[in-house]
């Protein structure tokens, strides 16, 4: 009798029947962590591993949630490889489709995947590559905007759109809270504007929807094409400068403060950019500091040290004017581009560099046409 009991227990533990879904899921994750990819044929290895694990799961009658995890892990590994190797990986759309197959974002089980946000981004990143997007752009550019970019690309908005189109309320709630950061770092972009009808229609009612709708309202006045909020600020000589004074010129603004290390680090790039347009009389580069009135001297004497004396530098201290509220200044540096009519091109323009210059050139061209 005793022997029969031991054999029975041994059978159960070996067959895996005794394993709970959670431990099965853990073992899948562990398995993926331990997979060593060869330099050549890494994609093939990933696909083969996925198949092998799936077979094992089937044998153990694993719940759908664990199959989703297995698929998500494979997607994550392929995406990593793709981002690391880039275009040279030459992933065929048919291979990508094979990787994405079986992972169903419209299911409840998918929501249980570990690192859900990353899996979603990897899923749509790979999907975009399969549809012909360059690897460097397919994952969007929203999330690095504070250091690299300040505008996302179409793939970011495409991801939000596709998630809303799936009409899976739980998925929308799990992922789309990121729209709050999109507003915070990018303002009311064209992409957010185009997304709004679908957001209204498919976003489940509740706290998150209300919160994002409030952002839509509070950022609406900073939409592209709106008249930029007026300001009148003083330079260090006490002379007043108004936004209206720049009418007829494209205005580029760097919003900064003496305490902001990131802003100061980017000032030379901003100056470098302004140098390129120094011979044009249809564009003006200025800086606006949000330093407190109490550190007026620190701001004033930072101007020559930071080699800013060649341009107009204004101070917009809190409590002295409504500039910071009017432009929703919740973080700096911020860059504005205002057209000759005083209308907003972007008050969340990219960091000084190629993208910003492209935007400036386009604005200059549009204004002169």
């Amino acid at each position: 009798m005793k022997l029969t009991g031991i054999v029975f227990l041994l059978f159960i533990s070996l067959s895996g029947i005794a394993q709970q879904p959670e431990s099965l899921k853990d073992s899948v994750i562990k398995k993926w962590e331990n997979i060593q990819l060869p330099e050549k044929g890494a994609v093939r290895t990933i696909l083969a591993e996925r198949e092998e694990i799936a077979r094992y799961l089937k044998m153990n009658d694993a719940p759908a949630e664990v199959f989703q995890e297995n698929g998500a892990q494979a997607i994550h590994r392929i995406a990593d490889l793709c981002k690391k190797v880039g275009e040279e990986l030459q992933l065929k759309p048919s291979v990508i489709k094979k990787v994405l197959k079986g992972v169903d974002l419209s299911t409840k089980e998918f929501l249980a995947c570990t690192n859900l946000g990353l899996v979603i981004e990897d899923y749509y990143g790979l999907k975009a590559v399969a549809e012909g997007a360059p690897v460097g752009e397919a994952w969007g550019s929203m999330w690095f905007n504070t250091t690299v970019e300040t505008i996302g690309n179409e793939y970011d908005y495409s991801r939000y759109r596709q998630i809303l189109e799936l009409n899976n309320p739980e998925l929308s709630l799990a992922y789309l809270s990121c729209l709050k950061s999109v507003f915070r770092y990018n303002g009311y972009t064209k992409g957010l504007d185009e997304l709004r009808p679908l957001f209204e229609k498919n976003m489940p009612e509740g706290e998150l929807k209300d919160e994002i709708n409030k952002l839509y309202e509070s950022y609406a006045h900073l939409k592209e094409g709106n008249v930029a909020p007026a300001f009148t600020l003083k330079d260090f000589r006490g002379k007043e400068h108004s936004l209206a004074d720049y009418k007829g010129k494209v205005l580029v603004v760097d919003v900064w403060a003496t305490w902001c290390g990131g802003c100061i680090a980017k000032l030379p790039k901003y100056m470098e950019m302004s140098e390129k347009y120094k011979d044009r009389d249809d564009i003006e580069f200025i800086t606006i500091s949000i330093d407190d009135k109490g550190v007026y001297n620190s701001w004033k004497y930072a101007l020559p040290r930071l080699k800013l004396m060649g341009m107009t530098n204004l101070l917009a201290s809190e409590g002295e004017c409504t500039f910071q509220e009017d432009y929703n200044i919740t973080g700096i540096p911020r860059y504005f581009l205002i057209d000759k009519e005083g209308k907003i091109v972007s008050v969340y323009a990219p960091t000084p560099g190629k993208d910003f210059e492209t935007l400036i050139n386009r604005t200059l061209k549009n204004s002169n046409d």
Partner: protein, 276 residues
């Protein structure tokens, strides 16, 4: 049996009531103190009542008066020293001046002496800070308080308060006289002395708090120098600060001075551009 219980209860209430009444500050005590009663026994009772009531603000004055009624050899021993340490907080207290003046004559253990010196140092620091904050509120340019007496007795006393505190008071006094050159001279000592320019080594918390309080006071004084100095003085300050930064690096308090240095550099550049 019932009667006994009621009797015990009655007695307890009476005892509690009388004890409570004994310790609580009475209107008579307040009025007598206001009229100038400085009788030692009366003051002692008044102090005990104030302690029970938790009226610590008034205690500063009453303890100060009480201690000064005592002979010097009794003034700062036992509970009297504890009361001074705990309740005397104002630099205009007679005992505060008394301790600095008679530092050599005090019979304190090394530990007590260290604690008293730290307290005196902190009282000076906080007084400068508080006056500075009041000044900020009034938006005045000049300091509202004259520390001549304190400066004089500190110079004569061997009380081991920090050099930084002494320099701060010296600079403050120069400020009161609009003496920019004098302030620059003090600055030279302040940043030139490695103990003063470096951070406290006790612990991280006291460093940040000390730096914060000092930063407000020194920052305001240096802002005045920044606004008032001429090109020569500006160059002199830069020389002093560059030398100190080279010697001590940009750590501890030097980081605070180094940031101020940047403003002087900017001002010098502006003056050279003819913008000032």
């Amino acid at each position: 049996m019932k009667r006994v219980i009621w009797f015990v209860l009655f007695c307890s209430i009476m005892i509690i009531q009388s004890t409570y009444a004994q310790n609580k500050v009475t209107e008579q005590q307040k009025s007598e103190y206001a009229k100038g009663n400085r009788d030692r026994d009366f003051l002692k009772e008044y102090i005990e009542a104030l302690k029970v009531d938790g009226q610590t603000e008034i205690l500063n004055d009453v303890i100060d008066e009480y201690l000064m009624t005592l002979p010097f050899n009794e003034r700062y021993v036992g509970e009297n020293l504890s009361d001074f340490m705990e309740y005397v907080t104002r630099v205009d207290a007679r005992t505060f001046i008394d301790i600095i003046k008679n530092w050599e004559k005090l019979s304190l253990s090394q530990e007590q002496a260290d604690q008293v010196a730290v307290k005196v140092d902190n009282m000076c620091k906080m007084d400068l800070f508080n006056v500075m904050m009041e000044k900020e509120e009034e938006n005045g340019k000049r300091p509202a308080k004259d520390y001549t007496d304190l400066q004089t007795i500190l110079k004569k006393s061997s009380i081991p308060i920090s050099d930084m505190r002494r320099y701060m008071i010296d600079m403050w006094q120069c400020w009161g006289k609009n003496d920019v050159s004098g302030m620059i001279q003090v600055l030279g000592k302040m940043v030139g002395d490695s103990d003063s320019s470096q951070e406290y080594e006790k612990n991280g918390n006291s460093l940040s708090l000390d730096t914060m309080f000092e930063g407000v006071v020194i920052g305001n004084m240096m802002n005045y120098v920044l606004e008032e100095c001429n090109l020569d003085q500006c160059s002199q300050i830069l020389e002093i600060m560059d030398h100190a930064i080279e010697k001590n690096g940009r750590t501890g308090r030097m980081e605070m001075f180094a940031r101020m240095r940047d403003n002087f550099e900017g001002k010098k550049m502006m003056m050279e551009m003819g913008e000032e």
